[in-house]
Amino acid sequence: MTSGFVRARALLALFPLLAAAACRDETPTLTGDPYFPGGSRPVTLEVILPAAQFLSPAGVFQGYESGRSFEDVVVANQYQGVLNAHAIQDYNVPDTLTYSQGGTTRTDAAFSIRSARLVVLVDSLGSLQGTATTLQAYRVAQAFDSVSATWTVAVDSGAVHTPWTQPGGTRGALLGSGAYVRAVSDTVVVPIDTAAARAMLPDSASGIILATQQAGTRLQIVQTVLRLDLKPSNADRDTTITVNVQPTANFFIFDPQPALPAGSFAAGGVLAARTLFGIDFDQPLPGCAAPAPCAPVTLKDVDLNRVSLLLKPLPSPAGFDPLRPVNLTVWTVTEPALGQRAPLGHLALDPQVAGRAETQFATFTPGDTLVELPLTLQTQNAVTGDSLQLNFALLGETPPVGTFAARTFGMARFDAQPRLRFVYTLHTRPVLP
């Protein structure tokens, strides 16, 4: 073999590099219906099935969470004629003040309180709007257990069972009040008598009840601090130091408990309601647009563009309507027979891309007349899997489900006869020329 042949063969090896360039081809693109081969324009159809055709209800449950695990606190006064809720908080005003002045750190146990106020941050979306609301702070006039206290019971710790002498927490003196005007600010300032503040010592058993003065109101409170202006006794000159005291206990009690409405779907709320149900996706679908007669097709015969559950919102139980949007999630359930104890599988709703994030929930906004829960991918997987009968749980909270999950105080409620929507495209094949 000559060296010339070797060089020639090496050159031949360069041709695959040219082939790589071929991968940047731009295929010519025509526009217009006349250029489609015969039979290649897709046909998309839609059918909406009634619940009787596909639905298997498996129960509505709640109690997976409680008011203690709700991330905010709620106060209400005869809201919608039924709901009362009070926040109970406890603060420990420090008995010594440590501060720095002129490069020297000083400790003072004889400081004085010049002013005190509760600074309350309100979740405006989670609160009733358009109604004048005055937030009142009362001293708690009875010892309570922050873990077990309820609307009617101050202490319920096994051996000890002590009812409140006044349901909703036994009120003592009114410490102060402040107006919530949403148009002005989301912050309510409640001035507190300095002597009362001084009494909130670490070893004291006193607390504060937050309530609304006007009937028909409901506020959701995100955060509360006791803000104190302190004057040290040993300062070099007239010095005031502002201190924020966080509550050592902060919970709310309410009455009545939300009732599970019969004959409807429920999701979310303070007690984390959920609805278990089954769907039989194995449905015959029209093979052509009505009214043309044609044989039905199965899910395996079509491309599914959208499969979704259509929910019709119903009024929530009185006092427990969701004032802010509810994030609805649907989870697979493999053992629906376990009822309330049926474990959740995985999220089933189609992923939605919002910005850079991918979410898997649908949002029900109060006032909506229809909520659509897209289950397209779940159905597509079922078509290629073993069974088209799937069980689900509808929840009103987003992952992680459990303590402090993002959920609303109010519950979303829907008609128990949801509809199942299929949007699908028939398989097509171009006719050979």
Binding site: G4, F15, T27, P28, T31, R41, V423, H427, R429
Partner: protein, 388 residues
């Protein structure tokens, strides 16, 4: 030598695989059975696209007699990038593409007999069409975008024999096996919903025969002719769930004639013509606009008096006029034609162990009444390696 050719063949196989994703050379790939491609190397392209008629033994998929008398094994591969810009009814498309129109090996068995095995392009079916539309769903009008994508085409795998009957006369025969596939996808994108995708692959099969002759009455003149046809191309879908899934087309008869004359020691004049009887498919393709017989004429001149770096560099000029077999628009409109001028050069390597050729072709497709105007540039590079 055989081992070297085997290695070259292996490289060719790799090229074959890489050639698969090549795109279309013309929007006319969407018409009829596709855009016809000729398995020519860069030398032939530089001479206007002459298909047969050159004097010296040359590997060719068009004329199996062309290789008769080749002294050593040879392998030829061509690489062909294109740039085109089409305007017409419903189209304003530009694109680039690249492909390997010919991969061919020739092996002399004796001084008279040679065998050849090659792979060549035949019909290009890379193209796509889209259309924005809207449909009515329960929540109102929804925008949709439909797209049909065809990817692939028909190629032919050829085996052939050439035999030098006398020093002046050679004959050849070949058998083509049609191969390749068109991968058709239909996509419907619906605003906010999952897209729908239907896909089918039409695999092509079939055979046709070929015969050729080369006559060289003297050293200054050579004439050749070749004939292909007599078979069929069968398209079969990989899925028959939607009814009829196969169709058979007669492979059209194709005749090529060409001749070359040495005008002086340094100049060769070549000319040729071809004719393909596509009209036999006119009835089959009536819904796609029909088909006509397509003829072409080419002429070129090669000058070998120029040298560079102490090596002869043949320079070539050529011109071509061809009829295209499938209409762009429907029946009643004119069939498109193709006109081109070309130039090329060659460069021998390794003591003539290899020849690298290149050509550039400027052409226009369409014509009055055809409804399409598609100017293009087509470049060809080919390498012929001899097993010396």
């Amino acid at each position: 030598m055989i081992r070297a050719v085997v290695r070259a063949s292996a490289a060719a196989a790799a090229l074959l695989a890489l050639a698969a994703p090549a795109g279309a050379q013309s929007v006319l790939a969407s018409r009829g059975l596709g855009y016809p491609l000729e398995p020519l190397d860069a030398r032939a392209r530089g001479l206007g696209g002459i298909t047969t008629g050159l004097a010296e033994p040359t590997p060719s998929l068009i004329n199996p007699a062309s290789a008769a008398g080749i002294p050593v094994a040879a392998f030829v591969v061509a690489f062909q990038p294109d740039v085109y810009n089409a305007t017409g009814n419903g189209v304003d498309a530009s694109g680039t593409t690249a492909r390997f129109p010919i991969l061919l090996g020739v092996f002399p068995v004796s001084q008279r007999l040679a065998v050849q095995v090659g792979y060549g392009s035949y019909l290009d079916q890379h193209w796509q069409v889209q259309q924005a539309d809207s449909i009515t769903l329960s929540n109102g009008r929804v925008a949709v975008n439909d797209r049909f994508v065809s990817s692939g085409g028909i190629a032919r795998l050829q085996g052939g024999l050439s035999y030098r009957v006398t020093p002046r006369l050679a004959v050849g025969a070949s058998a083509d096996v049609f191969t390749g596939a068109a991968n058709d996808s239909i996509i419907r994108e619906i605003g906010g919903l999952q897209a729908a995708l239907s896909a089918v692959t039409y695999a092509y099969s079939g055979v046709q025969g070929g015969a050729g002759v080369r006559w060289q009455p003297g050293t200054a003149f050579s004439a050749s002719a070749a004939l292909h046809g007599g078979g069929h191309v069968r398209a079969r879908a990989d899925d028959d769930s939607l009814g009829a899934s196969a169709k058979e087309y007669a492979s059209p008869l194709r005749a090529d004639v060409g001749a070359s004359a040495r005008l002086n020691e340094r100049t060769i004049l070549a000319a040729g013509a071809s004719w393909t009887g596509w009209s036999t498919l006119d009835d089959e393709l009536v819904s796609a606009g029909g088909a006509r017989d397509a003829a072409s004429v080419t002429a070129g001149v090669e000058y070998t008096g120029f040298s560079f770096a102490r090596k002869a560099v043949p320079l070539r000029l050529g011109a071509r006029y061809a009829q295209l077999p499938f209409r762009w628009s429907g029946t009643g409109t004119a069939f498109p034609n193709e006109r081109a001028v070309s130039a090329g050069l060659g460069w021998s390597l390794g003591g003539r162990a290899a020849q690298l050729d290149a050509s550039a072709e400027r052409g226009w497709r369409g014509g009055g009444g055809a409804g399409i105007d598609e100017p293009y540039w087509r470049f060809s590079f080919s390498l012929q390696v001899l097993g010396r």
